[in-house]
Amino acid sequence: MSEKGNRIGYLFVLPAILYMLALIGYPLIYNIILSFKDVNLMNMATNDSHFIGWKNYSDLFKNHVFWISLKNTFIYTIGSVFFQFLIGFLLALFFNLKFRFAPVLRGILMVSWLIPLTITALLFKFMMGDESGIINQILEALGIVHHPIEWLTNPHVALWAVIIANIWVGIPFNMILLSTGLSSLPDEVYESASLDGANAFQKFFYITVPLLRPVIMVVMILGFIYTFKVFDLVYVMTGGGPINATEVLSTYSYTLSFTQFHFSLGAAVANILFVILFIISLIYLRMIQKDEVM
């Protein structure tokens, strides 16, 4: 391509890049600088903040709420990803049976993924009410539990309550990606396996799973990335409570920055969140680069 073509190409590409650099790239670097300073509501306006080195980070490492939120973030993410993958996979297999309404029904399930997370959170908060919540009512009517579960008020249960809501959001995403993968598998392999006398289970574990491995990895890692950074769902459902039981890195960072106005501490938590995600993203990028020409 000529020099001129190159230049015209930049004219098309650059405006979006510059916009993203201004609103994402610059804040990202600013956030790193911020985490090494002592900016709070008082000195933000007057500009007399100072560099304090790694103090924010060492303060965090001494703070048990930070460790709780780190642990919660991992439990939340792994719990969500595991179950939404499992259920999503089962649904993908089911809707892959070629019956007439399968594509339409599968499409309708996507609704749960499109609803604003604030609304989903509110909905589950309502359904998970102690006495009158519909989930407890149904569980009691079916005889599964005898006392209402304190979904959002019991510190031992609350994290799982939020995970359940997140699973509901994530199932269609897993299902659709796995469906796309399933429909791309060659029929011939299954036919010859049938001729060799393989049953459905053998076909699933010896053909489907190995052939689908790249898709499975991508779905899981993407699920991890999108769940790890979740804010709205937790913030609206529990606000991190009761007693930090559902505090995750994103809500903890938000509370530090915008409730306590320790901007630098909040920035440091956000950076830790970012570093973990960045490492996962790199693994993901390596994986998809092997699959397709970028």
Partner: protein, 272 residues
């Protein structure tokens, strides 16, 4: 597949959908129940008394204002996304520019970034620029959700359009820009609509940016206002669910209008 097996599978499929989407049904049904019926045991699975007062209540409490704000923020940010992402996607699909691989990577990474990371810096920057408590902050910030997604989806879309079409246009006297505007944009229009719709939904669902950059409740979109209402309405779930129903209505309308394309677009954007 036999006919009866077809039927059995269809019925199971419908049951799965009904169970899975029960929360959405429950939201709407609660919004037209009386407060007494909501707390009745055993619960009623359809309202015995139709009750529309929750809707008139929240309408008179100024929800129209929030609807307008939501549309304003989402539409303007979608416009920014389209204006920036469409040419960028085209450029990345058609020109062999140096650094292209890096640019694509850049969009991929920004798409995965947690909003929390840019929240505090943007708050400080916006406050220094004096644009806190205006529409500008949420609009600018929520456009960053749609841009990388749209660039990546539309680049694939442009790659699928035969290059000969443009070459023909250039022979007929178009330059690269007029060929882009007159030939490529109309062909890519369906793809642009879908990515615009998805960007709209991203902005429509945003809570964190409006909550952080706007302390002025007059300027809040539905999401921020409903978050605030949780405390105000307490256990008046019919009002809250009416609020929620109004918020998801545009989402459902977009979904019904664009169903198949929306699903395809979302999956394309998620992988690429």
């Amino acid at each position: 597949m036999t006919r009866s097996k077809q039927w059995i599978l269809s019925i199971i499929g419908i049951l799965i959908v009904l169970v899975f989407l029960f929360p959405v049904y429950w939201m709407f049904i609660t919004s037209i129940k009386t407060q007494g019926e909501i707390f009745q045991t055993p619960p009623t699975f359809w309202p015995h008394h139709l009750y529309g007062k929750s809707y008139t209540d929240i309408l008179s409490s100024g929800v129209t204002r929030n609807v307008i704000n939501s549309f304003l923020i989402s539409l303007v940010s979608t416009a920014i996304v389209v204006v920036l992402a469409v040419p960028s996607a085209y450029g990345l699909a058609r020109f062999r520019i140096s650094g292209m691989k890096f640019f694509i990577l850049f969009f991929l990474v920004t798409q995965m970034l947690p909003p929390t990371v840019i929240l505090t810096p943007l708050f400080i920057v916006f406050s220094k620029l004096g644009i806190l408590n205006t529409y500008i902050g949420p609009i600018l910030a929520s456009a960053t959700l749609g841009i990388p997604f749209s660039v990546l989806v539309l680049r694939t879309y442009f790659l699928g359009i035969p290059k000969e079409l443009e070459d023909a246009a250039q022979i007929d006297g178009c330059n690269r820009f007029t060929a882009f505007v007159r030939i490529m944009l109309p062909i890519a229009f369906p793809g642009i609509i879908v990515s615009a719709a998805i960007s709209f939904l991203f902005s429509w669902g945003d809570l964190i940016y409006s909550l952080t950059f706007n302390r002025n409740q007059e300027l809040w979109p539905l999401t921020a206002s409903i978050y605030n209402a949780i405390g105000r309405y307490g256990i008046q779930w019919n009002s809250l669910m009416a609020f929620a129903s109004i918020t998801v209505l545009p989402v459902f309308i977009l979904f019904i209008l664009l169903q198949k394309h929306l699903v395809k677009g979302l999956t394309a954007g998620a992988i690429k």
